[in-house]
């Protein structure tokens, strides 16, 4: 008997769902090892995590609150990766979006009340988008690798933000804490349910996912993005404007990450600080990969990742196990889903070898 690989002609939807599910599951199972190494019972830890993430209305709200930016950064990564544009800079784009929201929505500009929210969203989208359009242009114009540039820009942006919130944007009423002046009340997102932190940003994320799904399935732009992503040479030969498509993707991708930043400022904190995002941009990559780059899948994957973080925090408080366990699960999920993609391309088969 020998093991052989046959290329698959087609990976049906149920199989793709199964691979993503298994990837998350295997990642959760694998962290039983570090949990035991830390001297705890993994089963207890899993139960505590599940309770912490879904065990009450409050827990559920926390999870969805955490999922809100992840949906948007996940969509940002998904749309870029579809075009083979490696946007690893969602973290920086998120902060730029948040910054734009503060610049527009904290009273420097006198906006009529009903316009405040659309204005900060537009500003955040454009600021985040611009932050990705720049590396995309450097790629198209100079051939500079966008991976490294978007990664490095994350560090530049966070320093830039620190500079502003310790300087011109600093809130004089924050008792010396480095944080920006707050948004005006009209620019804040309402809570979805009183006394729970879930806010309208979640609805924005869901709507964005729907729009993106429609774009992918039904529009010329979605068609062109697919062609550019799957075979640039053939797309160019067939007359698809490759560079323009890449720039559009960059704008959309960066813009979505920017919206995530707007949501965190307008829906959660009310002001900008340098700890606004605990790595939402990077986790977005995992969300997108777990979702198989599907917009609707990104919503589900974001909820999963958010549940892991919220659940691990709660478990950590109860058991003393470091909540970096959540980051371990996230990293392992990415690697597991990557391995899973191998099984979407190939079918494993046992084959008896004929006598020679």
């Amino acid at each position: 008997m020998s093991l052989r690989l046959d290329p698959r002609e087609h990976a049906p939807l149920p199989l793709r769902l199964l691979v993503s599910l298994l990837a998350g599951l295997v990642a959760l199972l694998l962290v039983a090892i570090p949990v035991m190494a830390a001297g705890a019972n993994p089963l207890d830890a899993y139960v505590l995590m599940a309770q912490g993430a879904f065990g009450s209305m409050f827990a559920l709200s926390e999870t969805l609150n955490r999922a809100t930016p992840l949906i948007l950064t996940g969509l940002a990564a998904a749309v870029a990766f579809r075009a083979r544009l490696w946007n690893i800079g969602a973290e920086g784009q998120l902060y730029m979006g948040a910054l734009a929201a503060v610049l527009v929505g904290s009273g420097f500009l006198q906006l009529p009340g009903p316009l405040a929210i659309p204005a900060i969203m537009l500003a955040g989208f454009l600021a985040g988008g611009l932050m990705m359009v720049i590396p995309a242009m450097l790629k198209l114009r100079f051939g500079a690798d966008e991976v490294v540039i978007t990664l490095l820009l994350n560090f530049v942006v966070i320093l830039f933000i620190q500079m502003l919130i310790e300087g011109p944007l600093k809130d004089p009423l924050a008792m010396g804490w480095p944080q920006s002046v707050p948004l005006v009340a009209e620019a804040r997102f309402d809570k979805l349910i009183p006394r729970l932190r879930m806010h309208w940003g979640l609805v924005i994320g869901l709507v964005a996912a729907l729009i993106l799904w429609l774009m992918v399935k039904r529009t010329v732009l979605g068609f062109e993005i697919k062609a550019v992503g799957e075979n640039k040479a053939a797309a160019r030969f067939a007359g698809i404007p490759v560079d323009a498509t890449m720039l559009k993707v960059a704008l959309i991708s960066g813009g979505l990450a920017g919206l995530a930043g707007v949501g965190e400022v307008a829906g959660v904190k009310g002001y900008l600080s340098a700890d606004l995002s605990p790595g939402f941009g990077y986790s977005g990559i995992v969300v997108a990969m777990l979702a198989g780059l599907s917009p609707i899948g990104s919503v589900l994957a974001a909820i999963f990742i958010a549940a892991v973080f919220v659940g691990a925090d709660s478990m950590s408080r109860a058991t003393g196990i470091s909540n970096y366990l959540a980051d371990l699960v996230v990293a392992l999920s990415l690697l597991c889903v990557l391995v899973g993609s191998f099984f979407l391309r190939f079918r494993l088969r046992w084959q008896s070898r004929q006598e020679v």
Binding site: P34, A37, A38, W86, I88, L138, F142, G143, A144, D145, V147, V148, I149, L151, L152, L153, N154, F155, V156, L159, F160, Q162, M163, E166, G167, Y282, I285, V286, M289, G320, I321, S322, Y324, L325, D327, L328, V330, A331, L332, L334, L335, L338, V339, S341, F342
Partner: protein, 315 residues
């Protein structure tokens, strides 16, 4: 102008430049080995963290400095092996796998640190490598004091530059590594193993990256901090392009970078009152981006970089 001259003519400045360059030398050499064989290793940032943590922890737990170096290298090699398995054996996306390795190595390091030392409030210290005098060299005017302040770890980096250059350009192994990154078919047709060469290069390269991290906790500083790697790995990836995948130029690039960073630190002391500190801190990243943009068009990327290879594959 006097200030500038003072800075550049001070041995301390050059000593600092070399010290800042050392982890980058390790990182660039490691990335260079991987990419010469055709594999991009974006795990570098996380492998730096793992090397920093593992080396430091080993010393803290009593392994001795060289024991720490060995442990750090092993940790890097292990993550390299995982990256090689995913990208070389399974032929999966080098980008995604690299990002995954970075996330995994970072979170595993942080988790291990927290789990091993749950109750510490300030990071515990070790006794790091001490500067050594090299008989003869240290007596040189100007150069002597700059080199005199370096530890054995820095000398190890310089020796590795020579070793990697020698292997790449003077041995049949180096020939095979350069060939496999250009056209794996050439290597396979001559009866060598494409996978073997690539796995080897990624594992060794990742071990070198981890040494870059270990330098931070065992020579530059004496403790492990969260976020201490701070993008150094990504900078190395940019520097490799800048160095055209050549060890000599990699050394030069890292030293230039170190000099610039040391310069901005001193400049900050001079004009820090009028310019916010963050402007200076941004410089290394902006400089890396600039370097990448300037050389990108004429960069001679290894032709098979990012291309997975399956046995018997035809064009």
């Amino acid at each position: 102008m006097d200030t500038l001259l003072d800075i550049f003519s001070s041995a301390n400045f050059w000593a600092a430049a070399i010290r800042i360059a050392t982890p980058l030398i390790f990182g660039v050499l490691g990335a260079l080995l991987c990419e010469r064989a055709g594999v991009l290793n974006l795990g570098i940032e996380g492998i730096f963290v793992a090397g920093a943590m593992a080396g430091w922890l080993a010393v803290y737990l009593g392994a001795g400095l060289w024991g720490g170096v060995l442990i750090a290298a092993l940790a890097g090699a292990m993550f390299g092996l995982l990256h090689a398995f995913l990208t070389v054996i399974l032929g999966l996306s080098q980008h995604v796998s690299g990002i995954g390795i970075t996330l995994l190595a970072t979170s595993a390091s942080y988790f291990t640190y927290r789990t091993t030392l749950p109750d510490v409030s300030s990071p515990p210290r070790i006794i790091p490598y001490q500067p050594i005098a090299v008989p003869g060299l240290s007596d040189l005017p100007f150069l002597g004091p700059a080199l005199f302040q370096q530890t054995l770890f820095t000398w190890l980096a310089l020796a590795l530059v020579a070793l990697v250059a020698f292997v790449l350009y003077r041995t049949p192994l180096g020939l095979a590594i350069r060939a496999v990154g250009d056209n794996p078919a050439s290597v396979e047709a001559q009866g060598l193993s494409v996978r073997g060469l690539r796995i080897g290069a990624v594992v060794i390269g990742s071990a070198l990256m981890a040494l870059g991290g270990a330098f931070l906790t065992m020579s530059a500083f004496d403790a492990f901090f969260f976020g201490m790697v701070n993008g150094r790995g990504w900078i190395c990836i940019a520097l490799v392009v800048f160095a055209s995948w050549q060890p000599g130029k990699a050394l030069l690039g890292a030293l230039l970078f170190g000099a610039f960073d040391a310069f901005q630190i001193r400049l900050q002391a001079e004009i820090g009152q009028v310019v916010p500190g963050q402007v200076f801190l941004m410089m290394p990243y902006l400089l890396s981006i600039l370097a990448l943009v300037l050389v990108a068009r004429k960069a001679d990327y290894p032709r098979a970089l990012l291309q997975p290879w399956t046995k018997g594959q035809r064009h």
